[in-house]
């Protein structure tokens, strides 16, 4: 059974981007610090990354992200997670330059993005990136799991993964992977029925 999984690196104080986050400084000051556990300085996957994550990356069937995230990295030049379809949630039409990326699809709302991504993923999981996507998915009840890579640092400022939500959301701890570089927390979202 395929799941939608919010997949984010976060500081202990809840930030996923540092201060001064803008197109010239994507992710803000210190953004790399949040991804040290995963990437080397020349953007290769670290040898010590837990095997579980390599396997899960290989089982990813589609990606959903927010427009802000996607535009800051030029839509990953059209390819993230080895050629899976990428769905960007935005009310506005995409920049015309996006047409050169056949795997990138703009969708106006999170429910449609999830439905289309699950269909495109052919039974594999759908990963989600970004704070606004996370909040909309939680509010709409279309998020199944959270994979939070909790990094041992207090950022002190920046963009928070979880800001105000309309309701309390209960989670179940599925898995904890304890490493010096990050505490990898996986949760299942309890849907209000």
């Amino acid at each position: 059974m395929a799941s939608t999984v919010l997949y984010m690196s976060m500081s202990l104080d809840g930030y996923i981007a540092g201060p001064n986050d803008n197109p010239g400084n994507p992710g803000g000051d210190g953004f790399d610090r949040l991804h040290d556990w995963m990437w080397t300085e020349d953007w290769k996957i670290r040898p010590g990354v837990p095997t579980e994550f390599r396997q899960e990356w290989d089982r990813t069937g589609a990606l959903i992200a927010g427009r802000r995230t996607a535009e800051q990295v030029n839509h990953w030049n059209g390819d993230n997670h080895n050629g899976v379809p990428i769905f960007i949630v935005s009310h506005r039409p995409p920049d015309p330059a996006v047409a050169e990326f056949p795997l990138v699809h703009y969708v106006t709302d999170i429910e449609s993005a999830v439905a289309q991504a699950l269909a495109a993923a052919r039974g594999e999981d759908v990963l989600m990136h970004g704070a606004s996507v996370a909040q909309r998915a939680l509010e709409s009840g279309v998020l199944d799991e959270l994979q939070v890579h909790l990094v041992p640092v207090l950022f002190g400022g920046g963009l928070r993964l979880f800001d105000v939500l309309p309701d309390r959301v209960e989670l179940d701890v599925m898995r904890v992977i304890d490493t010096p570089e990050a505490t990898h927390l996986r949760y299942r979202v309890r849907q209000n029925s």
Copy 2:
């Protein structure tokens, strides 16, 4: 070597108190949810609480808390953690009723509170509770460790443990205790030298 340890239960989205936190509703809506891992409904320690925490509670020599925290619970009726000295950080003098609690001492700044608490603790650890105390202790460089009981819930609103800090603070993961009720994270604070 005695340490100062920030000791808090926190939701995954960083809240230590729910919405509508006021003297008639201490800790706000849903506050008990953050302490389910520890207390039964009639405020007894749960049988399943990890042994490490029972031992650490027994090795607590003094307590530091913020005024807001202390006043909401009537200074724990003068006794928290089995009769250890309690230091409350506040610029204003205490309410006269506090005089009936001989273990409760008001101190104007966090550095003095830590110095006095460490002296009073006679080699045992000093626990700190409260968001404002946490932030002041981090800013002043007098916090040695963090013990965060990370509860699998998104509160969506309330009082955050970590709000804006002036600088980034690096931590080292000391210990992770993985239970279904909470992920217990202990960190050492790297002091800027």
